[in-house]
């Protein structure tokens, strides 16, 4: 079997496996629905996700340990993941193949020539990782300054070193070293006097461009809901995702760029490929030319996926091990070997120090700058309601990789990709929208936390969610609190009975309770003409027949016999029929002033009981801007957002 055939089988297998994981990520009882399928496996294999979270949390969470296998294999073999495993890469490669089918070999080879812009991905990698590195820096500074002697030693040491460097007591590169040490000294001194770590923090932003979360997000939120919209085999009903079109356009755009340049995304943008490019420096085996007997025919480059210049000085850091050069070379000159290419090799990308510094500075500066908006502090957005079990906001942003798995799994479709609600850092992180889905957050459901690959949404148990058994003292997890908008609520503002919110409130005792009030209806004052049996003829404007027959209207006798309320069973234009059931005192006398009252049950929210599940908001019949709405006040993940004593 040709090596490229083996590669294609491998790519096809992993692509199908990935798509299968997307299909089975459904909540339900059928065999093809979640039954312990390792649906996150591709993210677990992703060393960029692993490294990103290690930088932000200093831990390698649970199954992300798989990434170690990828790293070790890449250290030995090179970028096998890009060429043999990555399902996004497979899609790019296939579309690139479609795009170049009719091209003549020389223009295909020209399109596959190495370009300087391929370095962009390395800078992007630096930028994205630096955005997370702030957390590490903050931890470092905190650790150093929690000892009294360490910072002093450090400050003195750096100052001494700087002086030594400046007075040329140290070796080469002294200028640069001096600048670095000077800067370090400066920052150390600064940190010594000010608590810098309060403002240095990072957030996990690799998921914006990391191909694996990007692919999960795109397929699950934009592609599957479209493909499934007619057959409805995967979801019970149409799924909605806020802003899915942006995710979809980016995805399709990335794919269509292949028609111009094969593997455009992989070559120029992919930060995961860039990371593996660095790792492949150490690879035991690399693609190489084994003899100088080469007439530069360029056949090796007609199908070169990495645009890594195999005909000349090969750039192994950009080689995705597609093995096409190997396969195409008419003279069998290419090999995968443990010795360098005879025409030379470049194993590390030639990046400019300035570029790296700029990427690093931008990355480190961005999260603290973004937070100057106050989004994680006093100016937090109450509409950024996080799924149950979510960590406090700053910690959440250190872990969430925007993969959209929680949004995919949520049985009620209420977990939505954030737009700008939680700031630019929070783009595509999960927020709850109780209008979009089919219900609120289901009481006994913990699916989002179980599927989260990084524990940004912690894997909680129903007991923890509901505050039962071992968690009784902690109480239930609150997502927020429901607020009745008395200007929109039917019983409060429109004198119409309703209380759907009270009915559907799932906690016991209910967090939504009602206060009963009897209110005179508009133009409801009139007098009694005469009574006969349970029939009261009235003096006053003609009534709409049947208007007061709903069982919610009462005759209020203001004076004389029968004073008080009597339930109305029905009405004609000039008479009311009172309910014959129940105990009945005397009826009003002719001439007695009466009013027609409506019995209203007006909803109230008990914040001690409300868990913010949003079922009331979802069911509220005021279908536009709901008359009862949940915002994140009182959410249990952050004490500072509570208004309870």
């Amino acid at each position: 079997m040709r090596i490229v055939t083996a590669r294609r089988i491998s790519q096809f297998f992993f692509l199908v496996l990935f798509l299968w994981f997307c299909v089975v990520s459904s909540y339900g009882t059928q065999w093809r629905q979640l039954r312990g399928w390792p649906v996150n496996w591709f993210m677990e294999l992703d060393p960029l996700l692993a490294l990103g979270t290690v930088l932000t949390t200093r831990t390698l969470y649970s199954t992300l340990l798989w990434a170690l296998a990828t790293v070790l294999l890449t250290l030995v073999l090179g970028r096998f993941f890009c060429g043999w495993v990555c399902p996004f890469g497979t899609l790019h490669q296939f579309l690139g193949y479609v795009g170049k089918r009719r091209r003549d070999p020389s223009s295909a080879a020209a399109e596959n020539a190495y370009r300087g812009a391929q370095r962009v991905k390395y800078y992007l990698l630096f930028f994205l990782l630096s955005a997370g590195a702030g957390s590490l820096a903050a931890w470092g500074i905190r650790t150093v300054f929690s000892h009294s002697i360490l910072p002093a030693l450090l400050a003195v040491g750096t100052l001494v070193l700087s002086v030594l460097v400046l007075f040329r007591f140290l070796g080469p590169r002294k200028k640069a070293a001096g600048l670095m040490l000077g800067a370090l000294g400066f920052w150390t001194c600064l940190a010594f006097f000010f608590a810098v770590d309060r403002w240095i923090d990072g957030s996990l932003q690799t998921g914006l461009l990391d191909p694996i979360p990007l692919l999960y997000r795109s397929v699950n939120l934009a592609i599957l809901p479209l493909l499934d919209s007619t057959s409805q085999r995967i979801h019970a009903d149409q799924r909605f995702y806020y802003g899915a079109w942006v995710i979809g356009v980016i995805f399709l755009g990335a794919l269509l760029l292949n028609l111009k340049t094969p593997r455009f995304y992989c070559r120029f943008l992919c930060p995961l490929g860039a990371l593996m490019g660095f790792l492949s420096h150490f690879a035991l085996w690399k693609i190489a030319k084994k003899s100088g007997d080469c007439n530069r025919c360029g056949l090796c480059e007609t199908h070169c996926e990495g645009a890594c210049n195999p005909s000349d000085t090969i750039r192994t850091h950009d080689c995705v091990l597609c093995m096409n050069c190997f396969d195409r070379c008419g003279r069998d000159l290419m090999t995968y070997a443990a010795r360098p290419s005879v025409s030379g090799e470049i194993t590390v990308p030639d990046l400019s120090r300035r570029g790296l510094l700029a990427a690093f500075a931008m990355g480190v500066a961005l999260p603290p700058m973004v937070r100057l908006s106050g989004g994680t502090q006093a100016n937090w957005n109450p509409h950024g309601i996080r799924p149950p079990g979510s960590l406090p906001e700053a910690e959440f942003l250190r872990r969430c990789t925007k993969c959209g798995q929680c949004m995919r799994i949520c049985p009620t479709n209420i977990i939505q990709p954030a737009g700008w609600e939680t700031g630019p850092e929070g783009l595509w992180t999960p927020v709850l929208n109780f209008r979009a889905g089919t219900s609120g957050c289901q009481l006994n459901c913990v699916a989002c936390g179980l599927v989260c690959p990084t524990a940004a949404v912690r894997p909680i148990t129903p007991d923890e969610k509901l505050g039962r058994n071992a968690y009784a003292a902690a109480g239930p997890i609150r997502l927020g609190t429901a607020f009745v908008d008395r200007g929109r609520c039917l019983p409060w503002a429109m004198d119409k009975p309703c209380i759907v919110c009270q009915e559907v409130c799932p906690v016991s005792p209910k967090a939504v309770f009602v206060r009963e009030r009897f209110v005179a209806v508009r133009n409801g004052a009139m007098g009694v003409r005469r009574t006969e049996g349970f029939r009261v003829e009235i003096q006053g404007p003609a009534l709409t027949p049947g208007r007061f027959s709903t069982g919610d209207f009462y005759l209020h006798v203001l004076e004389g016999p029968g004073r008080g309320l009597h339930r109305i069973a029905g009405n004609g234009t000039d008479a009311l029929e009172l309910d014959s059931g129940g105990p009945r005192e005397t009826l009003p006398a002719p001439g007695a002033p009466i009013e027609i009252h409506v019995r209203l049950q007006q909803p109230q929210v008990d914040p001690e009981r409300c868990i913010g599940c949003g079922i009331c908001e979802h069911e509220c019949p005021v279908s536009g801007l709901r008359a009862i709405r949940v915002t994140a006040e009182n959410e249990s993940r952050s004490k500072s957002r509570s208004f309870l004593l």
Binding site: T29, S439, P497, E503, P506, P621
Partner: protein
């Protein structure tokens, strides 16, 4: 000029072009004329046409209007006894019948909390129907919470499977616009119609529950689960709506489960302390009478429930359940 040398060639070329251009011009003109709409959209555009999907009457006149009341703790035995007292399942289900069972699966809660139809009753009813020769038994509801979660957590989904019946999830495409003739609320309203189409028997099974807005959630209130759309607007006039449902849905048999009664915090409950052991199960062919008896388990008089009085006045049944001479059986005795 060359063209002057070949006038015939030139003319042919011109005629060819003329034919081509003429065909395109004519086609474009005709297309434009065909699409021409001088009126524009009228004011009714967008409203669905007045449709009157009406439901068949699933009652069996020969079974009469009867109810039976069984006192006991064991739901399955109580159901068997109650059905036997009404003449046995064969009185309702004939060989080859197609049966739909409407349960209350409104909330994604375990059966022990009593907010939903107990799975034992679903399993046993489906089993009885199949045993009597039914060719098809399906179970459905349009719950308030997420449907698949509801059927999974309430145990109803599993009960349906184990009994060999079909579970129908309320997918959007199963709803059709329906109108109750003479009704004022159920007009062109989405109804879970597809499961009702093609069956000739309808059985309702539901627990007795407190309900703040209507007073009680029992057999008649359970038909709410056939409605789709933003049905919650009907809460403004809930008694009238339940009356209309009572007229729209004419079941073969209804079972009201008062083995436990949700006395407080209904209709969701959520705590065992909301339940009271009332060890009563009612079956019957008059849903109004069954509900009227059920109200007594909640400590309420049927006269306190306007929807029952309205349904009675509309001719859907009688509130005076004693007039049907209910057959009472005590299993514990």
């Amino acid at each position: 000029m060359e063209s002057a040398d070949l006038p015939g060639e030139d003319r042919r070329e011109f005629l060819r072009r003329l034919a081509g251009t003429g065909a395109v011009v004519l086609g474009t003109g005709l297309l434009g004329y065909g699409l021409y709409d001088p009126e524009g959209p009228g004011p009714t555009q967008g409203n669905p046409p007045e449709e009157s999907l009406t439901l068949p009457n699933y009652t069996m006149p020969e079974a009469g209007r009867r109810i039976s009341i069984v006192y006991g703790e064991d739901r399955i035995r109580a159901l068997q006894t109650a059905v036997t007292a009404l003449g046995g399942i064969e009185a309702f289900i004939k060989k080859g019948d197609r049966v739909l069972i409407k349960v209350n699966a409104a909330f994604a809660m375990p059966p022990v909390l009593g907010a939903t139809t107990h799975p034992d009753l679903v399993r046993e009813t489906a089993r009885l129907c199949l045993q009597a020769g039914a060719s098809y038994v399906a179970v459905t509801d349009n719950p308030i919470n997420d449907p698949s979660s509801c059927f999974a957590l309430t145990g109803i989904g599993e009960a349906v499977r184990s009994a060999g019946a079909q579970l129908i999830l309320p997918r959007e495409k199963l709803f059709s616009s329906a109108t109750l003739p003479g009704g004022s609320l159920i007009r062109n309203w989405p109804l879970l119609y597809e499961p009702l189409r093609g069956v000739n028997k309808l059985i309702g099974i539901t627990p007795v529950k407190d309900h703040h807005r209507s007073g009680a959630s029992m057999v008649l209130k359970n038909w709410y689960g056939f409605l789709g759309g933003r049905r919650n607007v009907f809460h403004q006039n809930i008694h009238e709506l339940i009356k209309e449902l009572a007229l729209l849905i004419r079941p073969t048999l209804v079972v009201l489960d008062g083995t436990t009664t949700m006395m407080t915090n209904g209709p969701t409950g959520g705590s065992l302390s909301d339940l009271k052991r009332t060890h009563t199960l009612i079956a019957g062919t008059d849903p109004v009478a069954v509900d009227a008896f059920g109200a007594t388990l909640l400590g309420r008089s049927p006269r306190d429930l306007p929807f029952l009085l309205k349904a009675e006045a509309a001719g859907a049944g009688t509130v005076d359940f004693e007039s049907l001479q209910p057959l009472r059986t005590n299993l514990s005795g």
